[in-house]
Symmetry: C2
Subunit: 422 residues, 2 copies
Amino acid sequence: MHAALPMAFPPVPEQMALLTRGAVDLHVKTELEERLEQSRKTGKPLVVKAGFDPTRPDLHIGHAVLLAKMRQFQDLGHHAILLVGEFTAMVGDPTGKSDARPRLSRQEVQASAKTYTEQAFKILDRHKTEIRSNSEWLDTMTPADVVELMAKMTVSRMLERKDFAARFEDGRPIYQHEFLYPLLQGYDSVALCNDIELGGTDQLFNLLVGRDLMSKYGKRPQMVLTTPLLEGIDAKMENGGVVGKKMSKSADNFIGLTEAPLAMFRKVMQIDDEVIFRYFELLSNKSNTEINELKTEKAAGRDPREIKAIFGRELVTLFHDETAAIAAEAEFKNVYSASAVPDNVPSFSLTTDGPTLWIAKALSLARLVKSTGEGKRLVEQGGVEVDRERVTDGQFQLERGKRYLLRVGSKNRRFAYIEIAR
Amino acid sequence: MHAALPMAFPPVPEQMALLTRGAVDLHVKTELEERLEQSRKTGKPLVVKAGFDPTRPDLHIGHAVLLAKMRQFQDLGHHAILLVGEFTAMVGDPTGKSDARPRLSRQEVQASAKTYTEQAFKILDRHKTEIRSNSEWLDTMTPADVVELMAKMTVSRMLERKDFAARFEDGRPIYQHEFLYPLLQGYDSVALCNDIELGGTDQLFNLLVGRDLMSKYGKRPQMVLTTPLLEGIDAKMENGGVVGKKMSKSADNFIGLTEAPLAMFRKVMQIDDEVIFRYFELLSNKSNTEINELKTEKAAGRDPREIKAIFGRELVTLFHDETAAIAAEAEFKNVYSASAVPDNVPSFSLTTDGPTLWIAKALSLARLVKSTGEGKRLVEQGGVEVDRERVTDGQFQLERGKRYLLRVGSKNRRFAYIEIAR
């Protein structure tokens, strides 16, 4: 599948500058320089591998960081392999204790892989991407092969992995097959003979196991490059650093790759005014110089919403197109900016016996609706926002000791600040 | 292969008395009673399994302890399975670090298994013994089956095994496949659905893994019975206990099952006068009462050589026949007892520059031979004994600081004490 045509690869320093940008770990820099040099001489592209777990096919822009790195390799003329973890997905976690490893049928795996790759091709060059499945070699392994694989690694080495070490020390169980999975994943590289593997920083241990195994099987060991895990849209800046959970579906702080243009744009506008630069650095095609210029402008007083809109447009353009990006921004301004809070918003201080106050009750007490019944219906019909976020749970509770901005109705908007007294 | 005829099994207490005699661990006594009771009711024999490693097919009487226990089950009407560890022998130890697990070809395994079973049938009832190989089920396992197997056991549980725990604490490597082997061995029981597994006390952990696995695979868990590891013929009594290395080929303190009658008898006569009762208890068919009578007689002054000769005859009868036993005893008395050291043995004190003195030189200096050349030839022809043991190595060295009894010639025996001065 490798392109046989001699290619004009850019000079090594130029390639290195791009490939190492935003990377966290690189094992080993000098090796990468050598192999890039060799690739230029021979005209043979490097083979870049990244694996994915088909039990979680829904991608968000956190995944896009890794895929964007892979795309950079492609744009430089290198060859990308997306490896589907089909074998592990089909085996699942036999203890049944991990949600992350449900047991999928081959059909399910294939459907998942299709979903995944269709999303990934929003970033990757479809025509320069080879899709492989580890079932190709793992399904046909004999038990003797498994024994041989396991003999390549000691128990102590495996216990160096942080999560294993912590569980071992706490006396929480580690099932033995969990030790096997990093080896199987590493064996994928033995089978593929790739030059380099990419992964998130949380994959560093496993990627290095692959590197070790390759040399133990007499293959040229892969290099390893990790990209950062993107924090969610709810992250904040603290002491000059980004603080917050990683972007994930479960933390509900993600921007999905397949989200509609307006939703994407709106979520970008929710990002913290400083954290947005982290997103620029990890996901934007802008040069470091351009990003630094934006930082300077912000420091000089430019409205941070303008800067976030720049990123929002770029993101929507990437995953949809430019027309959609322009439309999304216009619609956002119309719907959300037009709903800017007027100056004369009334304030209500309400009291409650319990720790919380029912939203319908609060709306009624603030005279925003005529009755708790009407309040509940309005909430459930989507006509109420709390702190600029739509709330549709009719039983939503406001917490004592907090102050909220409520908005009622979508055409004739009415605002009120509501403080729940202690 | 199970006998389908209803059998008349002896009453449970009678069976229990025999089966638990000399056993160390029994998991679990009440279960064994229940299953024996059930077997009496249904007329269905219990299935008793013991595994063996075909990489070490030479049996000594230490192995006979286990086989004798198995034979007791057979004599009571139960069904025995000798399991050949063919799969593990063929895989070997891929790290190449263990002599115990060389990699054998299927032909070698089969030859070894034949050697083993032919020896084992000196004790077991050939017609009531089923030979199985774990290749039957392990060769066809898929990698997914291996993952499932590994998921049944935690890393911590495996580290409870004493030798693993010690190595882990000392920082000596444990390769991951070593964790797999107890699981594969346990899986043999899952495949065979045996009622009980026998093994040496050093196998207790592995046997219990088998018990656990069976219940995790929804099988009725096996019971586990261990027999003691017999100490070598060089063991001594200390503080009322037997002290010494286990019998093994490598420690050269063994009586092989295939040794000639005279060698067998002679080795028995070398055993310590007290330790011989350990041999009686583990290997003799004598009742506890009979053994206690012998102890009383010895305490009353009976010549311990007579008591050892009783065991020697029984052992030779077991592995050869009664005629051979009688002949061996007679020959022993003729050769060895007749060769009792005379009273007037001369003593020589020789000196040497190095740490040792060449035996041919010593013989020559003591005038037992005319030249070192003759001495060397005599040694190599088997005409020389050192401390009552024949020495045939022409380069044999006597150590400085020790005193030896040498004997030269077989017809005209000449004795000399030789002391190598410091």
